[in-house]
């Protein structure tokens, strides 16, 4: 029995030894096999690396409700897209208790083309926390693990800091006007150069009176939402006052109903100012049609028939500028135009006797009024131009230094300085 038992033991041990030997022999094979298996698995489906540095932040300078998701894509070459999910809001959870996340967007390759990725999440509630999680989509459609962000809430900004440069510029421009108005009030002498076109206003109205013909005033074809129309109407006020004093007939056909109303107010006020409210005739200020060329057709015919001695075109003009100016020319009227529509300036310059170019047009009403306050504001405009010229000179000088000394320390400094200047002005 004992022998038998020992033989059993021995046999067992030997068997074990044999197994061990086989096993030992198999290890390398197994290793290779496993390695191959793993390698195959890896080669077939490289699970894309998960997104890194996931941040969820409030979008700046907005009225709330918007968060921005930032992440880094570790391997852009192996990524085909990104899946963005957000946590459900309390209301949504109440409706559907099983879900925690909801997919908001599945972005394509562009979103992971670079290392840094971002996504704007809109419509986020501001009274509760929101989280997002992001997963990178591999080139074969495999999704990486989701990475979860810290909770965030969108905030409402009261002031858009990106508009700070604009605010500063608005303040500079406004202050330069205000300071000059104050100086004008304090009795400082104001010298404004002659503007030939404006000196001609009295002459033109005078001539119309002498000839016994009408004065035609066209306040452009835009409505009151265009500042040019408003500027044109303030000039109308001055022309109307002169016309009232000379007792010349002033006709104002308009292209918009509201402009007609405003023009009537303006002319009536001018007659009051001239001390002759009884000569104001509402019937001379009429609405024709909103259609640009319908209005022009009327004006052309009207000019040919009535032959006004003086024509004023003050406001926003488009293609009709030349039609009016040529018709006015063919009836031999004195024509004074003013517009801030750059594309139409050439035609007025070519075909009218006098043209107020761009800024001159806006300065005209102030100039014509002759009031000290208003003349002061023109001086303020000049300060604004000086500011512009200064900025251009400094910026150009810096840019030139940067170009001349490229790579040098001075050039680098100048380059960054001009870049921040351009950034300030929004270029």
């Amino acid at each position: 029995m004992r022998r038998r038992s020992t033989s059993v033991v021995r046999e067992s041990v030997r068997l074990l030894q044999r197994v061990g030997e086989y096993a030992a022999a198999c290890v390398p094979f197994a290793c290779v096999a496993m390695a191959l298996f793993v390698a195959r698995d890896v080669a077939a489906s490289p699970m894309p690396p998960a997104a890194e540095n996931l941040r969820l932040e409030d979008a700046p300078d907005d009225a709330g409700g918007v968060l921005v998701v930032f992440w880094k894509t570790p391997d852009p070459a192996a990524s085909a897209g990104v899946v963005i999910e957000r946590s459900l809001t309390a209301a949504e959870r109440a409706k559907n208790a099983n879900e925690l996340w909801i997919e908001v967007e599945r972005l394509g390759r562009d979103a992971v083309a670079g290392v840094d990725g971002s996504y704007v999440l809109k419509g986020v509630p501001s009274d509760e926390d929101t989280r997002v999680r992001v997963s990178i989509l591999g080139t074969d459609g495999e999704l990486s693990e989701f990475v979860e962000s810290a909770p965030a809430r969108p905030e409402v900004s009261l002031f858009a800091f990106k508009r700070l440069p604009l605010l500063l510029t608005v303040i500079v421009v406004s202050l330069s006007v205000l300071v000059w108005v104050a100086l004008a009030r304090s009795g400082r002498p104001l010298k404004i150069r002659r503007i030939a076109a404006l000196d001609a206003v009295d002459e033109a109205v005078g001539r119309a009176t002498e000839m016994g013909r009408a004065v035609l005033f066209v306040p452009g074809i835009q409505d009151m939402n265009d500042i040019q129309t408003i500027a044109g109407l303030t000039i109308l006020g001055r022309v109307a006052q002169t016309a009232a004093e000379y007792d010349a007939r002033l006709e104002v056909p308009t292209c918009r109903s509201i402009v007609m109303t405003a023009a009537r107010e303006q002319v009536q006020a001018a007659h009051h100012a001239a001390g002759r409210p009884e000569t104001y005739a509402e019937g001379n200020i009429n609405y024709i049609t909103d259609e640009q060329f319908g209005y022009v057709a009327y004006l052309s015919g009207h000019m040919m028939r009535e032959k006004p001695a003086a024509c004023f075109y003050m406001g926003a003009f488009y293609a009709e500028s030349l039609v009016l100016a040529e018709n006015g020319n063919s009836i031999g009227a004195i024509q004074i135009a003013g517009t801030a529509e750059p594309s139409q300036l050439p035609f007025f310059v070519a075909a009218c006797d006098y043209t107020l170019i761009g800024e001159e047009f806006f300065a005209a009403s102030a100039y014509l009024s002759g009031e000290r306050d208003q003349l002061g504001s023109i001086k303020g405009q000049d300060v604004g131009k000086a500011f512009a010229i200064g900025a251009i000179l400094i910026g150009t000088a810096l840019a030139t230094i940067a170009a001349l000394n490229e790579g040098g320390s001075l050039g680098m400094w100048a380059g960054s300085a001009v870049a921040s200047m351009r950034g300030f002005f929004g270029g």
């Binding site: 440069p165 604009l166 510029t169 608005v170 421009v173 010298k191 404004i192 150069r193 503007i195 009151m224 939402n225 265009d226 500042i227 408003i230 509201i258 109303t261 405003a262 107010e265 049609t289 909103d290 259609e291 060329f293 319908g294 057709a297 009327y298 052309s300 015919g301 040919m304 028939r305 594309s343 300036l345 050439p346 035609f347 310059v349 761009g358 800024e359 001159e360 300065a363 100039y367 023109i378 001086k379 000049d382 604004g384 131009k385 251009i392 000179l393 910026g395 150009t396 810096l398 840019a399 030139t400 940067a402 170009a403 001349l404 490229e406 351009r422 300030f424 002005f425 929004g426 270029g427």
Partner: protein
């Protein structure tokens, strides 16, 4: 009328009139000679007529909501009347008579509502229309002959006959017809066009008629545009959404904040009423208030907008280096670059131009001495700018005239081959 005539005769000598009449007659004779040379109908117009039929159907409530098609989803839900408040709202849609959903049981016809039938006419290019009409005629001729039964089994013959009848039905239902109302339209348009052109010779009764039509039609046109595209959707639809939905905009989506919309719409309405107060016998001064609002708001808006978009942006755009290099290699301007005379000159001229023109606009300084000389250079820049703009615009203006002549020669006179 007599006053008009008096003005005319004083405006130009008699011999001139005769000359222009002769020229007009010459032109008309020329055109009709051209017409003889290229004969064909004048003012041809064709339309393709499609008859549309719609019936009112009710969506049969389905067990699952996901099976509904998009058409049904986009249709509005008819609000239940007060009597059937508790019942679920029924969705009713107008569909084509042969909508497949009738067969599948998704839709059910609503009884007692008349079928709506109407024609839709789409304009077709005359040349194409003539070709198509000819093609359709020859197709119809071919299809009108019955199939030759020799060598066919009964089934084959019947199948072919059925296919032929179907094809014939399609050919016969395709209707491309001459459209007299469009032809008349072309004649009228041509006469109106000539009426405007006649003004170039001199002001005349023909032009006066055309001008009067233009003023009347265009004034009404813009009022209609304002009515249908602003007042209805932006004012009426906010004030009385149900009424507007029932009468003018059946597709109007329900608002999320009807109360807020209503209150906000009252503001422009109130301003408008104040403006209209002008017509009232007393208190016309109140019309100035809405004007003050308009002038104030737009002055405020344009102030920031113009400083941002024109003032600041243009200053930023002018900050460019005065010297320019031609970079011969893509990677570095420093290594392989050469001084570029042309670019440098352009850069300097650009900055000089901006500054001198700005100096021209200075109102404080009399144009004398250095300022005067600088301003004069500014004027040169302005003149070049204006000259170029003038030159560029000529092309567009001539194209417009080409367009009108094109209409007269081709659409009206049919002179195109």
């Amino acid at each position: 009328m007599s006053a008009d005539r008096a003005q005319q005769s004083s405006g130009a000598p008699k011999s001139d009139t005769r000359l222009w009449i002769a020229l007009l007659i010459f032109g008309a004779v020329g055109i009709f000679a051209g017409k003889l040379w290229r004969p064909g109908p004048l003012a041809e117009a064709y339309v393709e007529v499609v008859t549309e039929t719609r019936v009112l159907a009710e969506v049969v409530p389905a067990p699952t909501t996901q099976g509904t098609s998009t058409d049904v989803q986009s249709a509005e839900t008819v609000a239940p009347t007060s009597l059937e408040q508790e019942n679920a709202p029924t969705t009713r849609v107008w569909v084509e008579l042969d909508d497949p959903r009738f067969k599948s049981g998704e839709l059910r016809r609503v009884e007692g509502v008349a079928t709506e039938v109407w024609d839709e006419r789409a304009k077709v290019d005359p040349k194409k229309a003539r070709e198509q009409i000819a093609a359709l005629e020859s197709d119809a001729e071919k299809l009108s002959a019955p199939t030759d039964p020799t060598g066919l089994t009964r089934e084959e013959f019947e199948a072919r006959e059925a296919a032929r009848m179907n094809a014939l039905k399609v050919v016969e239902s395709t209707r491309i017809v001459a459209s007299p109302r469009d032809s008349i339209g072309i004649w009228i348009a041509a006469l109106l066009t000539l009426g405007i052109f006649s003004f170039l010779v001199r002001d005349n009764p023909f032009y006066k008629v055309v001008e009067s039509i233009l003023i009347g039609v265009s004034a009404a046109y813009w009022m209609l545009v304002a009515f249908w595209s602003t007042l209805v959707p932006d004012l009426f639809a906010k004030l009385a959404p149900d009424l507007v939905r029932a009468t003018m905009l059946p597709g109007l989506a329900p608002s999320e904040h009807p109360g807020k919309d209503f209150l906000l719409a009252l503001i422009p309405l109130a301003l408008g009423m104040m403006l209209l107060w002008r017509l009232a016998p007393r208190g016309a001064w109140i019309a100035v208030w809405p004007l003050a609002v308009v002038i104030g708001t737009f002055a405020g808006m344009r102030l920031t907008a113009s400083i941002e978009a024109d003032f600041m942006a243009q200053i930023a755009a002018t900050m460019k280096p005065l010297v320019a290099y031609t970079s011969s290699s893509a990677e570095g301007a420093a290594a392989g670059s050469a001084f570029d005379l042309g670019g440098t000159l352009a850069g300097i001229l650009g900055v000089v131009g901006v500054i001198t023109v700005l100096v021209y606009f200075f109102f404080s300084l009399e144009h004398k001495g250095v300022v005067g000389k600088t301003a004069r250079v500014g004027v040169w820049f302005l003149m070049i700018t204006f000259g170029a703009a003038f030159g560029f615009t000529v092309m567009g203006r001539i194209t417009l005239l080409v367009g009108r002549f094109d209409f007269l020669f081709n659409d009206w006179l049919g002179l195109s081959p």
